[in-house]
Symmetry: C2
Subunit: 514 residues, 2 copies
């Protein structure tokens, strides 16, 4: 058993079932190790940003890490932006990066680079394997690190000679520390605030936004003047009819500040106090009002769901029926073809248990509104703000949940970044329907140009935000990568295309030409 | 004048004429600064790997830096792989990366990351601007650093508040240090070796591979037993009829070692002693034989051309007529449609002064052979081994030389990485013809899998190297991005498509289905 085999064997023994891969020469022994190790599936991505984004999407749905396989520093570099997003999602990822053989490094061959330097900004744990005897235990430690609650990127760098040398020893799985206990004192403090009739907002993220946490939060809300909120971009949120609804924080600074202005107490659960996405001249970056008291009920590494349940218990509402969303479907087709019409159509046809991967950007608001009261589903969002995550994250989610329909809502600007994900969807016959909001511009930037006070744009500025020359033909691009595609230019044609996609299996793309 | 305007004004005054851009909200004032500053052209790329690759291609042909405009750490991250390639090409690049406003950084908003950490592995110079008064001089220093001979990446990080605050002061250009003088003692040592009749190989890179350096090297070769050689992947080399020919070093370890085995003296000019691209179990990584004496005639930062001319002078051959390539065109069409047939067809129709951007990989050998004796042209190659450089580098070269035909030879695997470059070619009406060698696999890896001794591949391993399911339809993808495209499946149809493309202007793509 050579080093790479002990690594892959250890990954499998530690519960890692999938490797999202884009290998090169220095990873050939990892390729054959995956080949010869039962229980490890390989999914090829044609660009590393697709590979790392798939690992993120997989982790959010599977609730455990996949591995990546990346080729040296440049391969890692291509995957960094989506690792940044995965880091912001607290997604567990075991990031395996090949390196030159140790004796080759000193020669500074063309592909040599500072891999640790590239890895550090996105990784909670970084290690370079040094010997075939210990690479198995390195792999076990990487899985342990990735799974450390609430999840992080663990990067293991594997020199080619460590991979190819005989004498590898698989390691047994290491214990994984779950969430740290919550602090009972914080529970009392929040309970006191609710009982006192203060206006309380509870801002949640992570586990708290899944069924159990939502139910507990909904019970708490029955005990006083309590508003339930989620970060603008949550890693995962369970939504739809029958579930406790939470309000997504507004994106823009003024709206955020206004929305939070009346809160007397802001309770933070598994996240941080809200700040604006960007700074603007003369505008606040901090969301909460000065007078608002902030209480951290539970930090991200703590047991957020337990804290919410204890809070409900303390308030005497542990068995209360929370207010949940009714199933409410809007039958309006309408004349105007926009994000709202698209959102209504999606809500009408989405199957229960679907996964929505949302990178809809400026066009996504309509879908957000309509989906709140449609069938129960999961939503996974762009957590780190680095566009080009939606297609890969949808692809990875489909690998994690082959029996669930995945719908990816994507702005056209961002979708170009990692468009190669469509090919993997076709290759793996994944059940993903992609909706491209084709407005032919970086629409958010046209808004932000005004908001930042950068002045009236002239021709050169407008051209830097415009995607209309030439117009991108998403139908041809998708077909070029083996994905069936159709263009919709009216509410009716979109509805026909989307309902058809929901009734079939396999990858589809709908270009919504706005 | 706000900070960003003083930055852009300074770039223009320092001779920077083009910014390859993919901006975001934090760079809106850079966008309007470019907009309002005459003399600065903006070229939009729909992915940052395209942006940085274009800057590299531009620099290789324009022989001066372009600027980039990248959005925060993730935008930089997406551009790192092609900055790695640019670093290996010693291409001057002024890499401008926006950051959050300084007061916003502490809030750890979603897009916050360690930008300096991302930048350091590829940058010769990194600086974060701190004030609107000094950002002009920061920009002048960045250009100075980028142009430091033989060229490097200078990364200037611009916080949004420094960009938007009034009070910017443009700075005058700073002096740029040219090449350091060569060492006369090294010239004598090489001259002695040549005069002594020793078997000498001269390995060149950089300026030495352009007309003047080649002529000097060719004269030296008339004075003894001298073989002229170039690195396997040179940033730029002037080739074709009427020029001194140099032999490209073989890629694979055994062939490299064999090719160099008989040299008594290896003379290094502007490069380093050859090493293999990758390490292989039980195979050498060092190219030269143990008995071979290595003399560094001139290092990369020294005057390599002056050293070659002094060597010719010392040897008394400063006016000798060097052996140059004859114009020799092979009229064979042949029955087999492969890289050799394609190479012959290209050589028959290439216009004089064309630029060949070569990322042909395993299919590129035929073109290399045929082009050696066709019309004079420039060739720019994949210097850092990170695939996905060819399309962007061709695009940037076409921006630098609007009157020259650019031909990009690209493997299909690598072309998928930065396929978005086609859109920029269409938008800017660039005169680039792309030839995709569509062999539907990572062909090099099928070879390397054997060579690394990683064993007989099973189904999972083969699938990780295979691009045939689904087959990528390059014609549809290109058309989807606004580029005229055609498929060729025979030598005749390729020749018809290529000759047609050479007679017209504007972007074209030919999928050579091998």
């Amino acid at each position: 058993m050579y080093g790479a085999q002990s690594l892959v064997r250890t990954l499998v023994d530690s519960g890692v079932e999938v490797t999202f891969a884009n290998p090169g020469t220095s990873e050939m022994h990892l390729v054959t190790a995956i080949d010869t190790t039962p229980g490890m599936r390989a999914v090829l991505g044609l660009f590393e940003g697709v590979v790392t984004g798939m690992a993120d999407g997989y982790a959010r749905i599977a609730e455990k890490p996949a591995a990546t396989l990346l080729h040296l520093g440049p391969g890692l570099a291509n995957g960094l932006a989506n690792l940044h997003n995965a880091r912001r999602a607290s997604s567990p990822v075991v990031n395996i990066v090949g390196d030159h053989a140790t004796h080759h490094l000193q020669l500074d061959a063309p592909l040599t680079s500072d891999i640790v330097g590239f890895a550090r900004p996105v990784s909670g744990w970084v290690h370079t394997a040094t010997h075939q005897l210990s690479v198995g235990s390195d792999a076990a430690r990487a899985v342990q690190a990735a799974r450390q609650h609430p999840g992080q990127i663990a990067t293991l760098i594997l020199p080619a000679d460590v991979a190819w040398t005989e004498g590898g020893v698989p390691a047994p799985p290491l214990p994984v520390a779950g969430a740290a206990p919550f602090d009972a004192g914080r529970v009392s403090a929040v309970a006191d605030a609710v009982r006192a009739g203060r206006r309380v907002g509870i801002l949640m993220r992570g586990e708290a936004l899944k069924q159990r946490g939502l139910t507990a939060a909904g019970r708490v809300a029955t005990a006083g003047d309590v508003r339930l909120m989620a970060d603008t971009f949550s890693p995962r949120i369970q939504k739809g009819a029958g579930r406790v609804q939470v309000t997504r924080l507004p994106y823009f600074a003024e709206q955020l500040v206004e929305y939070l202005a009346d809160l007397e107490v802001l309770v933070i659960v598994g996240t941080k106090p809200p700040v604006t996405f960007f700074a603007y001249p003369g505008k606040p970056s901090w969301g909460a009002a000065e007078h608002t008291e902030i209480i951290h009920l539970a930090l991200a590494h703590q047991d957020t769901v337990g804290a919410l349940e204890a809070l409900a218990e303390t308030l005497g509402v542990a068995s209360a029926a929370p207010v949940v969303a009714d199933l409410r479907i809007d039958d309006t087709v309408g004349d105007k073809f926009d994000g709202w019409a698209i959102g209504r159509a999606i809500a009408r046809h989405l199957p229960e248990g679907a996964i929505i991967a949302d990178e809809g950007g400026t066009s996504g608001g309509g879908a957000q509104a309509s989906l709140a009261t449609c069938v129960p589903h999961d939503q996974i969002s762009l957590t780190g703000g680095s566009i080009g995550q939606g297609l890969p994250v949808a692809t990875g989610a489909a690998v994690a949940a082959p029996d669930r329909k995945v719908v990816c809502l994507h702005g056209d600007g961002g979708a170009m970044y990692t468009v190669q994900a469509l090919w993997t969807q076709a290759r793996e016959r994944l059940d993903v329907t992609t909706v491209i909001f084709a407005n032919r511009s970086y629409a958010i930037l046209n808004i932000e140009l005004q908001r930042t006070g950068a002045g009236v744009p002239g021709a050169k500025a407008r051209a830097m935000l415009d995607l209309s020359d030439p117009t991108i033909d998403w139908v041809q691009i998708a077909r070029g990568m083996g994905v069936e595609a159709v263009r919709a230019e009216t509410p009716e044609s979109f509805e026909a295309a989307f309902s058809s996609a929901m009734r079939q299996r396999g990858p589809r793309l709908i270009e919504a030409r706005l």
